[in-house]
């Protein structure tokens, strides 16, 4: 079996071809540097991804804060981690780069905020109260 996928180690994006026999890597082609080969191996054995999603914010000028893992996490853990993230609530203010969860699900990766969320202004509070009334 042959699998083809682009390398994402740098913007060049070499098209990697990996030949597999009984699930084992026979040959890797298409890479222009050793990083490509390492990426191909990892992509076959235990692919990793940076996960980006959002977390609910209490009392912020946005209802959500966008977040990501600060390094790639094993792809197989994405459903587990989404479950954890769904249950999270953070209080405004949130600073960009702030660690919201350290060592997420034992991966060593931290969940960090990718935007700043300020506390909701009094004016916005007032508008929202009027909206509800």
């Amino acid at each position: 079996m042959t699998r083809e996928f682009p390398c994402v180690s740098c913007p060049l994006g070499c098209l990697l071809r990996v030949e597999l026999k009984d699930g084992k890597i026979e040959r890797i082609e298409g890479n222009r540097c050793p990083r490509g080969e390492a990426y191909a191996r990892e992509e076959i054995t235990d692919p990793k991804r940076v996960l980006a999603t959002s977390v609910k914010v209490l009392g912020g000028d946005y209802p959500l804060v966008s977040v990501r893992t600060d390094r790639p996490i094993p792809k197989r853990l994405i459903p587990t981690i989404m479950e954890i993230v769904r249950g999270l609530r953070v209080k405004a203010p949130v600073e960009i780069g702030q660690v919201l969860v350290a060592n997420l699900a034992g991966t060593g990766a931290n969940l960090i905020a990718t935007r700043r969320v300020l506390p909701r202004s009094e004016k916005a509070e007032e508008l929202s109260r009027k909206g509800r009334a």
Partner: protein, 405 residues
Amino acid sequence: MKISVDVVVVGGGAAGMAAAKAAAEAGAKTLLLEREERLGGVLDQCIHPGFGLHRYREELTGPEFAFRLLSELERAGAEIQSGATVLSVRPSPELLVASEKGLIRVEAKALVWAAGARERPFGPLLIPGARPAGIFTAGLAQKLVNIHGLLPGKRALILGSGDIGLIMARRLHLEGVEVVGVAEIKPFPGGLLRNVVQCLEDFGIPLFLRHTVAKIHGGKRLSGVTLVEVDEQGQPISGTEKFFAVDTLVLSVGLIPEVRPLESLFPDGVKVNSFFQSAVPWIFFAGNALEIFDLVDTVAKIGEEAGRSAARYAQEKPPKPTAVPLRKGQNVAVLVPHELVPGEPAHLFLRVPRPLSRATIRVADVYAQNHVSLRPAEMVEIALSPEATVELARLPQADVEVIPA
């Protein structure tokens, strides 16, 4: 209220922020106008990674890229007016702007138009069937999910495999929406290969190439979509219909540069030289308002070039330089800029209409570059030296073509 500036920039997305930053750094009194309350444009809702690899040498999400660019802009000292909508542009030059402070007249020596693009809506696709609720453009669905925390529906089909469509397939899947597939009318995906892998294959979302929507079903709310296979000419093949029971259809069928307030000034469309200066010498264009780009890094770079050029124009009022027109030859679907200024370096951006393996890009007889693989989803940048643009000036026009090996 009346304001006088050297350079006014319309649009606070990546292109506009970069333009205003560069204009202010060049010493021009610069005002940036943004319609929304916050700067960042579409970056604000693009919470996925993949931005900044060229500009910042690391992989950032949209909001992070916007934050960095905004910090650069604030350091450069441009004035920012958000919540300000441009109502009209007069050739005096003067802009009429609606803002919280009331109506503002902005007198400027140069304008950088960086108002971004709009999504192609459902209407022009002329798809037969009902017109129920549940049909969203991909950007709207993205805003609902990523900014407002609302889901568009429970079971979704995506039409169009451009990057926004692929990114939304993954985003909706992660948020618990069942994504039954992505339909693409062309025989190849519209978006980057890495997005096909990381947004569809990672989650087992099927990609239906050579498929389009044949019919919309539903009453008040969408109840289903019929897909049909198309032949080489893009015509539906009867008997290949497949029905999908979905309550949501997400459209990722193209972006259209937003130039409407300027249309009367450009009856024959917008063309720019390698300074990103248009036929109206005091109007410069940047970002997706000029052409739809793939990478925000490119958009920011062009924005800076347009901002610098606008500042120079405002300060020195040079006559518009004579230029060498560029002509799109074979296998060139998109080409910007449209003219070169001789003696100046130039960056051309080119898109091919179909995937090509092994081809040579030529600019008349002064530039040739071999490529192993060219894809419509990936614009190619061509750097021309000042010597090359001088050499091209002996021609009435320069042909840009992609010749298959």
